[in-house]
Every structure is written in C-alpha cells, then in structure tokens.
Amino acid sequence: MRYDVTLDRIDARELEAVVLHPGAGAICTFSGIVRDNSRGLAVTHLDYEAYAEMAVPQMRKIGEEIKQRWPEARVAMAHRTGHLEIGEVSVVVSVSCPHRAEAFEACRWGIDRLKESVPIWKKEHAADGTYWIEGEEAKPV
C-alpha cells in the first residue's frame, strides 16, 4: 500500500510495483491527465492544491475500504500538486487482484471515492480566465 501527495511527476510503474505480488493476476491502473479543454473552453494549465495532512489519511481510508470490499486487492494511489501542463498526470490509482473483474471494479471505485473525498482542489487556467473547480461548478478567481 502506498499513498502519496507529491509535487513530483508520478511514475505509474512505481505504483504498479507496489501492488504487484505473486498472487496478482491483474493490475488495473487509472491515470488522470490534464486535458486541453474543459466546459467547452481551451485550458492552458492547472494548479492543484492539497490539504496534504488530511489527503493522505483520506487516501489510506479509501485503500482500507477497498480491502474490505475486495480482500485480495492491493492498492497504491498518488496525487500530484502544484503547476501541471496539458498531458501531465495528476493522479494515479493502481489496484492488483487475482482476477481482472475485481481489479477493474476496485480501481474504478478507488478513483471515484478519491475524487469525492480527498481534499485536493483544481485551479483551471482557461481561455477566458481562471477558475476554482468545485464539484460540478467552476468559480472565477
């Protein structure tokens, strides 16, 4: 298990190495990437801000919830903060399981929970200004 909030580039292979073990037949790895558009507008770059002392324990809690639902799963998660350019990886969730159905389900569940409960915020620098993204809303700075 590994849970990181980091200013550094995330290496998905490192997370996969954490979840790999001889009983793992399947690894599902989700990477969130900075897209060049949002709400129909061009995006130039993003800034992510985290409440790191809370974000890491929240990630750990999600990992424990996954272990309760999929006892054979192993989980690693990392979220990057700071300035990110288009095409850069903002978040990675990697899950190993004996078989692929659970690996997909647990990974999907992990990123969904992370997006709703881990205190990390996105400031979007778009063609028409800068916005804090709060759930489905974009609030101008």
Binding site: G32, E49, Y51, E53, M54, P57, K115, E116, S117, V118, P119, I120, W121, K122, K123, W132, I133, E134, G135, E136, E137, K139, V141
Partner: protein
C-alpha cells in the same frame, strides 16, 4: 463563564484566497461547535461564503457542523473537492 479555548483554523483553495490567509488562531467559548468557529471567522473575514457551500474537517476528518471543538483542535474549511469525470 469558563475560559475561551484556542483552535487553529485553516483555509484551502478558493476559501484561502477569499480569506486572504491559509491559517490562523481563534479563541472561542467552551462547547463551541465547528459552525460557531466558522461564523466567528466570517465576522473576521467578510469575504468567506455562507456555511452552505463549505465543508468542515476537524483534526483532518470530515465532520458535521455540530461537532464540538476542543482546545488545540485543527479546524479546516474546505470547498467542494474537484470531483470531475
């Protein structure tokens, strides 16, 4: 009346920008809850939005607004997280 208790407050993201600071100390009456803390802060930082659009965390755990604070607690005010598809 019992002595006021000191809590540490933290702001993040848009709330941090609206408050103009990322943290502070606040004295509140004993038995205050998280909402009391936030309302005291709104008097100090007028740009903070109403409680409806904010979540609170007490010592790094999400809590309801009625959660009571103790001396030395860290109370964080948190906009909705980015979510996204």
């Amino acid at each position: 009346m019992a002595e006021a208790i000191a809590v540490r407050v933290r702001f993040f993201a848009r709330l941090r920008e609206l408050a103009g600071t990322d943290s502070g100390a606040l004295h509140v009456p004993p038995s205050s809850n998280v909402e009391d803390v936030y309302e005291a802060l709104r008097r100090q930082y007028a740009a903070l939005p109403p409680v409806e659009s904010v979540r609170a965390a007490l010592n790094q755990e999400f809590v309801e607004w009625g959660a009571e604070v103790s001396a030395g607690d860290e109370v964080a005010f948190i906009p909705p997280v980015s979510g996204g598809r």
